[in-house]
Symmetry: C2
Subunit: 248 residues, 2 copies
DNA sequence: TAGTGGTCTAGACCACCCC
DNA sequence: GGGTGGTCTAGACCACTAC
């Protein structure tokens, strides 16, 4: 008698079929090699004796873990793993280069808008004053990686809207306005890809993302920019160096 | 003639039905108030004229965003939002208290193991030497929040296995071994809840998580611990302060 | 025991890519 | 056109909770 092993009893780990399926799929990924093609979803369903729905659930999880990528009309392929980006006050460009990746940045939008109450508070300007909103698509080696939306106070940086796109934003701030970044508060959380995100990143709606929100200050502690970005959760991880608050 | 609006053309944002459903569900959440109950999934499917599968997909997304919680045999409830935790070299306990939450920590496991090559390298001990592995379940106000697995070199901290659980680990390290943390490298990425995670956290398998990996060093730059934790992505966000690498 | 959420199925149809 | 992934459906059965 006695419930022996595998009883899946209460408070124990239950393993759904879609989760167990991942083991089999992972070995297919290993066989395929980086970027190699996997069998189609219908073929996988037949091979493992499950429904296509269950296969897709397992594939979606593996995709979220960065182990494979799916391309709509094309197929499923072994994944490329995650890129590590350092959380620091440096440019995206420098950062990607240090990983041997070729970074590009497309300016999707540069518009002047009127500061809403929340943005006004964050940028320390009066409500309704002019704010420059920049929207960029960051890519590495041609693959879209992140969408970044920045807001800067035009009252502090008159004419900035004419100067973006030329060179690095932080370079422009220093050369034309004598402003240098001192510190920033960066928040990280999970999020899901919106339809707009998915369209730009070649993602699926609802894909797991990392949302970062950066509030940057200059060396005089005045707010300089407020940035919200979403990074593909299957392609990125972030690393930060923490120092002791009580240094001895 | 002429595709007017709503044509959902190429390269534009397509909005799947499950995503659009979220708007309707969000207003139900608002009506319910924090912690309030929502109608059952079958009732929602009928009300919105979609299949239960589609309702569940939308609910799963809202859950990942922290807007609601589901309890197995019980029901679906309006969510509690996210807690912000600072990335710093301080204890979980201090951190939660500063948010007015009552933190508890259950020691699930404290075992001595033999260092695998990767752990040995991280802790700067020889392969095969003794390592203490601690596994904790962190809760706030009674709700499970995170699972934390730490590893410390017993060769540097003899007898440590007898002293854990009494008080804070960092306190013990200081009082008995004269060791104080100097800095740490912390990595953050998304992950999915394993069956074991889900069982401990009262989560669903595959739920979105934040995985942190911390490599801590003492004031002499010697490695002290290596910690891997998973936090519920629907309950947590992290914030870090970044400082300029060129302080001029 | 009745109701709730959790898993799985088989099949339909659409959108996209490539030949 | 034919294949691939993306979305949605209707329904079955299981596991858990509350009564």
């Amino acid at each position: 008698m006695a419930d022996i092993l595998g009883d899946n009893g209460r408070k124990t780990a239950r393993t759904p079929k879609h989760w167990a399926l991942k083991d089999g799929l992972v070995s297919l990924v290993a066989d395929a090699g980086p970027g190699g093609p996997l069998p189609g979803e219908r073929a996988l369903a037949e091979r493992f004796g499950v429904s296509r729905t269950t296969v897709r659930k397992a594939l979606t999880e593996l995709m979220a873990e960065g182990r494979l990528t799916r391309v709509h009309g094309s197929g499923t392929f072994a994944g490329a793993g995650k890129v590590t980006q350092r959380l620091q006050l440096s440019s995206y460009t420098e950062d990607m280069r240090s990983h041997g990746l070729n970074p590009t940045s497309a300016l999707l939008e540069a518009t002047v808008e009127i500061a809403e109450p929340d943005v006004a508070a964050l940028l320390a300007v009066s409500e309704g004053s002019a704010v420059l909103r920049l929207r960029r698509l960051r890519s590495a080696d041609g693959e879209p990686m992140a969408i970044e939306t920045s807001r800067l106070p035009l009252s502090r940086f008159p004419g900035l809207e004419e100067r973006v796109g030329d060179t690095s934003l932080y370079g422009v701030l220093w050369e034309h306005y004598g402003v240098q970044l001192g510190h920033a508060e960066e928040t990280i959380e999970t999020a899901l890809a919106t339809p707009a995100d998915a369209a730009l990143l070649g993602n699926e709606v609802g894909a797991v993302m990392l949302r970062l929100s950066r509030h940057s200050f200059d060396t005089d502690n005045r707010p300089v920019e407020w940035v919200r970005s979403v990074y593909r959760g299957d392609r990125y991880k972030f690393v930060a160096t923490l120092v002791s608050p009580r240094p001895q």
